[in-house]
C-alpha cells in the first residue's frame, strides 16, 4: 500500500468526523424543536421531582449551554441515560443491541452483493434468453414488494416447511443461532440485491461488448478466464460504488425485519425511542448510526481503490 493511501484514509476520516459532528448538531437542534416533553408523563408528578430531573439532564440551562454539554459528553463517548428506561445508559443499549443489528446487516449486505453480482452477470451473459427473463421478472418483484410483506410470506413459508418435516428446520423467529439469522438476512437484503442485479446487468452488458474483451478473445483466452479476469472485475466497479449507500439502506431499514422476526436489534429501540420521545436514545442512536455509515463508506472507498487502479492513483 502506498503512503498516499494512508493520507487518503486520514483525509476521509477527518471529513467523516465533520460529517458526524454535523449529524449530531442537526439532530440536537431538531430534537429541541420537536413539540412535547419527555418528562410530562405520569411518573414525573411534583415540581420538585421535575426540577431535579431537569437539573440532572441539564434541561434547565440555555440551549447553547446544553449543546456544549452534549458535545462535550459526546467527545468522551458518553451518550447519556435513557429518559424512559430505568437506569439504562444509551451506551448500554447500543452495546447490547447493535451487534445483533450489525451481524444481520452484514449478512444481508453479503447476501445482496454476492447475489446481485452473480444474478446480474448471469442475466447479462444470457441476455434476451429465458434465464434473463426469469431473473429480471424476480428482480422487479424484489424491488417492488415491501420487506414486511416478504418477511411475513417467508415466515409463512417456514411454518409450512417446518410442518412438513415435522421438526424445526429453520426457526420462524427469534435470535441466537446461525439458523435464526439466515432468513431475516435474506429478506433484509432482497431489495438491495434486486437493485444491484439490475446495476450489474447493465454494467456487465457494457463490458461484454467492450474492446478489451474483444482483445482478450483475440488472444485466445478461454471464456471462463475472460469472465473472471477481464469482465467481472471491471463490471463490478459500479456495484461497489453503490455498496456504501446500500449498507446505509440495509442497516437503517433493518427495524422492520427485526420487528417481524422478533430480533433484539438496535432498529427496534431506535423506532421505539422516536415514539416515546426518548431524547438521549434518539440522539445517541442517530449519531451512532451516522458514524457507522460514514465509516462503512470510507471502507468501501478504500476497497474500490484496491479493485480499480485508476482510483488508487487519485489517492
Amino acid at each position: 500500500m502506498r503512503s498516499t493511501m494512508w493520507i487518503f484514509i486520514l483525509k476521509r476520516l477527518v471529513q467523516g468526523i465533520f460529517t458526524v459532528w454535523f449529524i449530531a448538531t442537526a439532530t440536537f437542534f431538531a430534537m429541541h424543536n420537536v413539540p412535547g416533553d419527555p418528562l410530562l408523563n405520569d411518573r414525573a408528578t411534583t415540581d420538585a421531582i421535575r426540577a431535579n430531573l431537569e437539573a440532572k439532564y441539564g434541561l434547565d440551562k440555555p440551549v447553547m449551554t446544553q449543546y456544549g454539554i452534549y458535545l462535550g459528553n459526546l467527545l468522551q463517548g458518553d451518550l447519556g441515560i435513557s429518559f424512559t428506561q430505568e437506569n439504562r445508559e444509551v451506551n448500554d443499549i447500543i452495546r447490547d443491541h447493535f451487534p445483533v443489528s450489525a451481524i444481520l446487516g452484514i449478512l444481508a449486505v453479503i447476501f445482496a452483493a454476492a447475489g446481485g453480482v452473480l444474478w446480474g452477470a448471469l442475466t447479462a451473459i444470457y441476455r434476451n434468453r429465458w434465464p434473463d427473463y426469469v431473473i429480471m421478472f424476480l428482480v422487479i418483484l424484489g424491488i417492488s414488494v415491501p420487506s414486511f410483506v416478504v418477511a411475513a410470506i417467508s415466515q409463512l413459508f417456514l411454518v409450512n416447511v417446518n410442518g412438513l418435516f415435522g421438526t424445526t428446520v429453520l426457526p420462524v423467529a427469534g435470535w441466537g443461532t446461525v439458523l435464526h439469522m439466515l432468513v431475516p438476512a435474506m429478506v433484509l437484503g432482497l431489495g438491495t440485491m434486486a437493485y444491484l442485479t439490475r446495476l450489474m446487468r447493465s454494467s456487465m452488458l457494457e463490458i461484454i461488448s467492450s474492446d478489451f474483451v474483444r482483445t482478450a478473445k483475440a488472444k485466445g483466452v478461454p471464456p471462463a478466464r475472460i469472465f473472471a479476469k477481464h469482465q467481472l472485475r471491471n463490471a463490478i466497479l459500479p456495484v461497489i460504488t453503490v455498496l456504501g449507500p446500500s449498507i446505509a439502506a440495509i442497516t437503517t431499514g433493518g427495524f422492520v425485519v427485526e420487528l417481524v422476526f422478533a430480533i433484539p436489534g438496535l432498529g427496534r429501540y431506535f423506532v421505539q425511542a422516536v415514539q416515546q420521545l426518548d431524547y438521549t436514545v434518539i440522539m445517541g442512536t442517530t449519531v451512532f448510526y451516522g458514524a457507522f455509515l460514514v465509516f462503512m463508506v470510507i471502507v468501501v472507498d478504500v476497497l474500490y481503490g484496491f479493485i480499480d487502479p485508476r482510483v488508487r492513483m487519485e489517492y
Binding site: S210, D211, F212, R214, T215, A216, K217, A218, K219, G220, V221, P222, R225, K229, H230, R233, N234, I307, D308, P309, R310, M313
Partner: protein, 346 residues
C-alpha cells in the same frame, strides 16, 4: 515454430469466397460478399477500403470474433497452412487465436483491460497457450516490451493502461499480439487513432518486428499512405467485395479499377509536381441490405455503362497477380479511359 510447412506451393493463409452476413432489425446486411485472397509467409497484405466496406468483418470472421448471432458466415473457407480455420479455434493442436494469428486493434486506449497491468496482459497468452508459469510469462512480457521499444520495460510492465500514452499502448498491444510468435499478425487499422508522428513509429516497429520474426502481416487500413509504405500486396475492397488486387506497384501505378482511381485522387500528396485538388468520390456506398444486382460501385462510377447496373463483373487478370473486377476490362467494352490501366495487347 513451423511444425507444418506450407511446402506444396500453397500460401500460408488462403481465403476462398468468404461471405458474412448479419441479422439486424432492418433486415439482413451482407457485409462480406465473396472475398478471396491469400497471404504469403513473411509478406504484408493490405486490405484497403472505406468505412463499412467489410474489411474488418473479413478478418474478424476468420478470428471468430464476430458475435453469432447476429453474425453468420454463409459461405467460404479460410485455410491456414492448409487447414480450415473458419468456425474453429484449434488447428493441429494449436490455438489459432493469439497463438497462430495475433491481432491488434484500432483504438489502443480502449483495447486493453483497465484493471490489469500491462505486463499481466502480455503474459496472459503465454500462460494460456504455452503453459508458462506466471513468473516466466511476466519476464517474457518484459522482454517483449523491450522488443517493442518501450523504455524501462521492467517498470512499465507493472503499470496500468491509464499510465501509458496512446502510442505506448499500441506498442504494448503489438507486444501482446506477437507474444506467442504467431505466423500471421492482423493489424486492424493500427494507426487510425494515433497522431501522425506516432503512426510512423508504430509502422516502423511493425516492419522491424516483421523482419525479425518473419511473420506475415494483414494490414487493414483506409490510409493509402500507410499502404504504400508497408504493403507488398494490396486488396481494394468495396461494398463487401475485392474490386482490385495486385502487388503494391500494380495497384498504385497501374490502377485498373475506377474505385482505386477515385481513392488515389482523394489522397493528399506532398509532391509539388502532382498539384491537383483533392477530389472526393461523390455519393455513398450501396445499401448492403439489398446489394445491387450489378457492380457495387456503378452508382458512383464516372465510367459506368448500362451493363454495370445489371450484371456482376468478373475478375479480369491483367497480369498473373493483378486483377480488377470491372466491366471496362471486358473484351467488348467500348470505353477504355486513359486514366486506367488495361491489359497490354499481346
Amino acid at each position: 515454430m513451423n511444425s507444418v510447412k506450407a511446402d506444396n506451393g500453397a500460401s500460408l493463409l488462403e481465403v476462398e469466397d468468404l461471405a458474412v452476413e448479419f441479422d439486424t432489425y432492418g433486415g439482413i446486411v451482407q457485409a462480406v460478399r465473396g472475398v478471396s485472397f491469400s497471404v504469403e509467409k513473411g509478406k504484408t497484405l493490405a486490405i484497403v477500403g472505406e468505412s463499412g466496406c467489410g474489411k474488418s468483418v473479413t478478418v474478424q470472421s476468420m478470428m471468430g470474433l464476430i458475435p453469432m448471432p447476429p453474425g453468420r458466415i454463409t459461405s467460404g473457407s479460410a485455410k491456414l497452412k492448409g487447414q480450415e480455420i473458419l468456425g474453429r479455434t484449434v488447428v493441429n493442436g494449436k490455438e489459432i487465436r493469439g497463438s497462430e494469428i495475433g491481432m491488434i486493434f484500432q483504438d489502443p486506449m480502449t483495447s486493453l483491460n483497465p484493471t490489469m497491468t500491462i505486463g499481466d496482459q502480455i503474459a496472459e497468452p503465454l500462460q494460456v497457450h504455452r503453459g508458462y508459469s506466471y513468473k516466466k510469462a511476466f519476464n517474457e512480457a518484459i522482454r517483449l516490451l523491450e522488443m517493442s521499444k518501450i523504455p524501462e520495460a521492467a517498470k512499465r510492465a507493472r503499470q496500468y493502461p491509464f499510465e501509458f500514452s496512446g502510442g505506448m499502448l499500441q506498442r504494448a498491444m503489438i507486444a501482446m499480439a506477437i507474444a506467442c510468435k504467431p505466423s500471421i499478425l492482423i493489424a486492424d487499422e493500427p494507426t487510425t487513432a494515433l497522431d501522425v508522428t506516432i503512426q510512423a513509429q508504430i509502422l516502423d516497429l511493425l516492419q522491424d518486428l516483421q523482419r525479425e520474426t518473419g511473420m506475415a502481416v494483414i494490414l487493414i487500413t483506409h490510409d493509402l499512405g500507410v499502404v504504400a509504405r508497408m504493403a507488398d500486396e494490396v486488396a481494394v475492397m468495396y461494398a463487401g467485395k475485392i474490386v482490385e488486387h495486385g502487388m503494391v506497384d500494380d495497384v498504385f501505378y497501374r490502377s485498373a479499377h475506377p474505385y482505386t482511381l477515385g481513392l488515389k485522387e482523394a489522397m493528399p500528396t506532398n509532391d509539388p509536381s502532382l498539384q491537383h485538388e483533392l477530389k472526393p468520390i461523390e455519393g455513398s456506398p450501396p445499401d448492403l441490405f439489398s446489394p445491387p444486382r450489378g457492380c457495387g460501385y456503378c452508382a458512383r462510377c464516372p465510367y459506368a455503362m448500362q451493363i454495370c447496373n445489371q450484371r456482376q463483373p468478373d475478375d479480369t487478370f491483367l497480369t498473373e497477380s493483378h486483377f480488377s473486377r470491372c466491366w471496362l476490362h471486358h473484351v467488348s467494352s467500348p470505353n477504355k479511359p486513359d486514366q486506367l490501366y488495361f491489359k497490354e495487347e499481346a
